[in-house]
Amino acid sequence: MRAMPISKCETLDGVEKAQEIERVFAMDEASFRAFYAQTARPLWAYLFRASGDPTLAEDLLQETYYRFLRARPDPMNDAHWKNYLYRIATNLLTDHRCRERGKEFTNLPGEAGADRSATIEPRAEGGSERTELESAFKQMKAREREILWLAYAEGYKHEEIAELTGIKAASLRPLLFRARRKLAEILRGGSKA
């Protein structure tokens, strides 16, 4: 079946009109712009640090906002909206990891997908520190990167991280402790070298 051209959409009387479609979003355009300006940069940083891939981070960022808009959460304050956004982003990261793991099993040796793990060129200011952090993050597990970033960059409480990531609250503390210790050791080792 061929897809109907988009321009016909507005003529679909009784089905969905443009205004009705806009109404299915969680917020209007002006509110979205303000919310995006406030959240997009830290969200991209989270997605980039958790995935290690700037292109993937951008894709996931757009998908996150789309799902956020479509999800139409109940009226919330900014903090709740931000939590909701990060929960969607974290779920998308998890889904992506599962798909990639699936590919690892189905691909023949040497047939793995193209390596997308590019880096953002660090600027001179703080450049070496960022390079060290980047290489340290590569040695961490994806889940560890996520919880570390949520705890120490985003400042989420442990209960909130447990809720965002789906990890049991009781398991989070030792997991976070081990991840923090591991990262600190890698960074100390890196700075000694």
Binding site: C9, E16, R33, A45, I120, P174, F177
Partner: protein
């Protein structure tokens, strides 16, 4: 070894609120107490070290982030929502079309099975035509199959041209 400090989250939050900044300003009572705690707690020191490092990294990454414009994200989301709405609206039609194809194919197969003796008779009749020569039943079957396929394809083509208009 102690794995967790009860004050860790409080320390991280206080840092984010600027209560731990050592900027010469007189600290609040809570801030001063927390600073004393941090000075003696290796877990909180490590947490603070990471929080400060991540904050610098987050700021630097944010400045360089190749972000799409908010307008573009909004426009794409709208476009996708419309496509999905159209797809949802078309779903029953698509289902009905598929059901019609399946029903048609099953009916044709059922009719062929039911009328098989008559079909064999026609085939024998066609095979006995002098133009095909002796023992030409397979050839006749092929001829009928080709004719049916041509008729079906012509019907599909006409349908596609009609729906395009």
């Amino acid at each position: 070894m102690k794995m967790h400090c009860e004050k860790e989250e409080e320390v991280i939050r206080a840092r984010a609120e600027g209560l731990l900044a050592d900027n010469g300003e007189p600290a609040s009572e809570g801030g001063a107490a927390l600073r004393e705690h941090v000075a003696a707690c290796p877990i909180c020191q490590e947490a603070l070290f990471l929080a400060e490092l991540f904050e610098r990294d987050q700021r630097a990454l944010g400045a360089q982030a190749p972000l799409p414009e908010a307008d573009l994200v909004w426009w794409k989301a709208q476009l996708r929502a419309r496509r999905e709405a159209v797809r949802r609206a078309e779903a029953p039609v698509v289902f009905a079309e598929k059901a019609a194809w399946v029903t048609g194919a099953l009916s044709a197969a059922g009719l062929a099975a039911w009328q098989w003796p008559a079909i064999r008779g026609w085939l024998a009749l066609i095979a006995s035509a002098p133009i095909l020569g002796p023992h030409s039943e397979p050839l006749a079957a092929l001829f009928v199959a080709g004719l049916v396929s041509t008729l079906v394809l012509a019907g599909v083509s006409l349908y596609l041209i009609w729906s395009e208009k």
